[in-house]
Symmetry: C2
Amino acid sequence: MDQPDTLPQIDHQHATFTDGLTLECGVHLPRHTVAYRTYGRLNAERSNAILACHALTGDQYLAETNPLTGKPGWWEQVVGPGRPVDTDRFFVICANVLGGCMGSTGPRDPGPDGTPWGTDFPPITIRDMVRAQKRLIEHLGIARLFAVIGGSMGGMQVLDWAAAYPDAVFSAIPVATASYHSAKNIAFHEVGRQAIFADPDFQEGRYWQSARIPARGLAVARMAAHITYLSEQALTRKFGRKVQAGPAGSLFGEMFQVESYLHHQGSTFVRRFDANSYLTITRAMDYFDLAAEHGGDLAAAFRGSRTRFCVVSFSSDWLFPTAESRAIARALNRAAANVSFVEIASDKGHDAFLLDEPDFHRTLAGFLAGCAEHAGLAG
Amino acid sequence: MDQPDTLPQIDHQHATFTDGLTLECGVHLPRHTVAYRTYGRLNAERSNAILACHALTGDQYLAETNPLTGKPGWWEQVVGPGRPVDTDRFFVICANVLGGCMGSTGPRDPGPDGTPWGTDFPPITIRDMVRAQKRLIEHLGIARLFAVIGGSMGGMQVLDWAAAYPDAVFSAIPVATASYHSAKNIAFHEVGRQAIFADPDFQEGRYWQSARIPARGLAVARMAAHITYLSEQALTRKFGRKVQAGPAGSLFGEMFQVESYLHHQGSTFVRRFDANSYLTITRAMDYFDLAAEHGGDLAAAFRGSRTRFCVVSFSSDWLFPTAESRAIARALNRAAANVSFVEIASDKGHDAFLLDEPDFHRTLAGFLAGCAEHAGLAG
């Protein structure tokens, strides 16, 4: 892979497939790579595998130190030995999504002319991401996943897995997600994209030609998105109207702490994420509409499914409100599927799925234990 | 006034004060201008004047065609002959806020060195805006306003008027507002400001030196803000996931209608608003915290007030939620003030105060009629 920008180059564990992948947009990728990590051990029956799907800006390093940021994995509170998703019992797989920037094929990779794809990278859908993951699962010798789990965009992948490959998914846990992206959420994504486009360092996506990346635009995109991940209560509790010393020229010499926090979110993000990947993946989320693929009836996506579902939402999540999870649960009910629906009381907003939420973690552990019994999985 | 940018130059009706205005930040303006418009006629007793305060990006043209945009005034549904604020009965005044870009003294005006102030324009507070309006009211020969009314930042001015000049305010109608700006709202403002700063055409605020304005950054700021003005229901009803033909290179040749709408909001905004004014005025809102000026007790701001208050909120407003209006009403109750509080059921979000909301309009007309009786104002 060329070095198209200033993101550090890391040799991620990966599988490369040379048998071709035709994307939903019609473009054929003759070869593609899926970067992934695994935790725990696959049992002899190959029946204890759990696929965890990451969110928009997540990656495959969910239960170990991230080699790029040096920070803990994004789901260490959920996945690990003795954790709700117990790696002493389960074999957990997490793959960087297609279109991402952590080793799976994406806009930083060379396109047909040998230079990086950039904005010419073909549009990716959630289904494309899921199909790339399916190849990886087969490559690992797994015919059926014990569970697929994920929050936010990860939850969209969970729903799509269950709809596309019902026989390969024993249980499915879509968390803090929706079966389609709402007008409000598309609007927030578009603000972020416009911020990136507005940065002259974006250079129509060909920023690898210079030493500069569109850091300012990408930081603004991240700041706008980050607000949507938090609840009003969380922002008020964390920051309220507290001020701190501001840079020269700031009003009364002060700045609000919430501003400083957003600046930090923006500036750290641009050191770990690629702008073209951000454009590609936000687009994939925007285009997700599972019912639309089934004549407008979400229940039709799950008709006849034997998958056991646990749909989880958080009460203060205004990006993916509980109403959207309830709509999923109702569609599953209409399809006579096996579904439980849990709204976790939390004041932490959308980000709650990544945080210390004991009720959520108990729900996960309990549902997985119940499914293990049904599956006859050794304890 | 110099021509610091590409906004058209308009000769706005105005009053210029040469007796000096010392701002809250300590800066002394030896002269300042307040641009304003009036509607209806002041009665002989000078007792029928209503001051309408505009919101962040509003201006003084509330009940007539805007000379800059050619569009109807922003409150023509509320203010005019036979309207809820009836100009056959009342004399309505609206002034461009200090720091604005429609004729009142602001960052486009020449500073001490003769070049435009730009970002060196002193920080303005809501109180500064109110004090400039007070000078105008005195200039017009009015000792006491029959009412002060305004929505959003206009509502902040209403609250500040009532707190600063209780004897000059017979009745006060703060609409869709709060007594302080929340962490979430500060965060959204900061995203907009960062988008402006990120635009190289901003040139640290000295963009009048070139022929370019920071149009891209300002457009992104407007887009982010605009989302917060609408409710989820309004966005879904207006746009949902409807698509239209997109520009070349768009995914599947389409774009979402909500994206096109946001682009339109951004591109029209930059033709009527100045980026430095946007920075100045958003800051003024962020710093508004009426209770903080009174030892943390909002009730203390209104102790002993004889003003009659009507506090109005809209049920789907998530920028200034009903809870913040209720907190104002409770503080007024604690101060034993005369207050009614009305939450209007609406699915139009924060923008409802600008739109056709019959319940809101009936509330206004009824409250003003009641106050007119109490004031002994001839019908």
